[in-house]
Symmetry: C2
Subunit: 276 residues, 2 copies
């Protein structure tokens, strides 16, 4: 998917919501456990119930890998289901990969060729040759970790060099030269919303994938005020607050409700900022 197509979907759906498919067999409603592939049945119901309000889906790959081959099957069925039924959503393999060049190339094959995701999240620690293999597929995206939403973000990402530049700032400045706003995005945690203005000074145009709204405590409004740009430039992820809004038979209906509420808030903010 191109940046323009993504922006068109955002305007049409009046939403910049990404739903995180952190689908955990221990948390999905009990009545699904008797089906052949409970994780896929759960995802399918969540996707059907939320796609109207959602511009992106983000399966968290760890939750599938944890089940070995059967988890990998659930993942493949999920991405195929999305690609077959809802071509207007952007898909993110939240895999946080990154390795030497020939190995990153293999990860690109796994997620872009074998599974046809639009994008993959990538860790920057190993530098240029670990990221650029993800930038060589037309209309595919690398989403680089910059400033994450977790407590551990403070261990290294805020380390200042001699010019008082933090590591996350250096990551933004350095990696953004390897591609463009048409094939790179950045992960910036919603719990660090006050840093978004500074981040926008470094990368005014790139889309930001923002986890941490909801369960992790980030504020949608604050993130939007500080991070929005003329093409929206934000994908706000919500996982647990949507997919586990109920653990009963009404889980899909309740996910729909939670997604709709976020979409309504987003519509208001998009209008406020003259995007729609």
């Amino acid at each position: 998917m191109t940046r323009d197509e993504l922006f068109e979907n955002i305007k049409r759906k009046k939403s910049y919501l990404c739903v995180g498919l952190d689908s955990d067999i221990k948390k999905i409603p009990a009545h699904l456990l008797t089906t052949e592939d409970p994780i896929f049945e759960f995802n399918k119901a969540i996707i059907d119930a939320t796609h109207k309000y959602t511009v992106a889906y983000k399966p968290n790959i760890a939750f599938y890998e944890a089940h070995g081959i059967s988890g990998w099957k659930s993942l493949e069925k999920t991405i195929n289901y999305i690609n077959s039924n809802y071509s207007d959503v952007f898909t993110i393999a939240d895999a946080k990969r990154g390795d030497i060049g020939n190995t990153s190339l293999m990860y690109a094959r796994a997620f872009f060729d074998a599974m046809n995701f639009d994008s993959i999240t990538v860790a920057p620690y190993m530098g240029e040759d670990s990221v650029t293999p993800f930038l060589q597929h037309p209309n595919k995206w690398a989403i680089v970790l910059a400033l994450t939403s977790n407590k551990g973000a403070f261990d290294f990402q805020f380390t200042e060099d001699k010019e008082s530049e933090t590591l996350y700032q250096k990551v933004l400045k350095t990696t953004s030269k390897w591609g463009s706003a048409d094939n790179m995005m950045y992960v910036v945690g919603a719990t660090k919303a006050d840093m978004l203005k500074d981040i926008r000074n470094i990368i005014p145009d790139h889309f930001l994938l923002v986890p941490g709204v909801g369960a992790q405590g980030g504020s949608l409004q604050e993130v939007t005020e500080n991070g929005i740009n003329s093409k929206c430039g934000l994908l706000i992820n919500s996982s647990r607050a949507i997919i586990y809004n109920s653990d009963k038979e009404d889980f899909a209906e309740m996910a729909n409700k939670a997604a709709h509420e976020l979409q309504q808030e987003m519509e208001h903010l998009l209008k406020k900022h003259n995007i729609i």
Copy 2:
């Protein structure tokens, strides 16, 4: 596997060789392509031919993921084959994972519980809660990226803070407090052998997993002189130079030869340093 068990295996086999199973369907001998699972058949033959000289095997997970479910099957068969037949080798899932706590926990399940690897390589960028979930399994290991062997290592790993401490030094100092030399190792590229003395000042006891000998240009002797400690403390990885020593029917025999040559050199170095 415990650190003492690993050290016993090193002394008994007179080797600290790790064979990297970067098994690529495009590079394995053509006659295997007619078998049901060419990647597994290749790995099995390589393992049978090299285990005598090898203390560790390191499947590079990207090479398996690139094939989706069938790749995941080859990986499971490979780790099961090693665990069933050669309990005296240490197994490394070279996966370079790392995510927020609940997600890293899922990766730990994938590689420690579902597949029973001894260890997994982990990227440090996201900090403490991305690493510690890998340290809670008895006799399992997190192998943290410190100084990698690739060109991109220079992009961020050498960034100096105000006290002239590089990022990789900070990673070593900070992360080593989260566990011990009994459940953590570090990736240090052989191409950076001159930094090994400095690294040994920071972490005298930890095992180092050293990629980059052979195809990437690192020197076994230089790495050993600068990095060895009283319990050896080194696992030197070789992938391409062993597993692709021949692309003909004699590939296993030639892998045996390449592994034996490295083992002989290692035996000499272990004796020189009074380890055996």
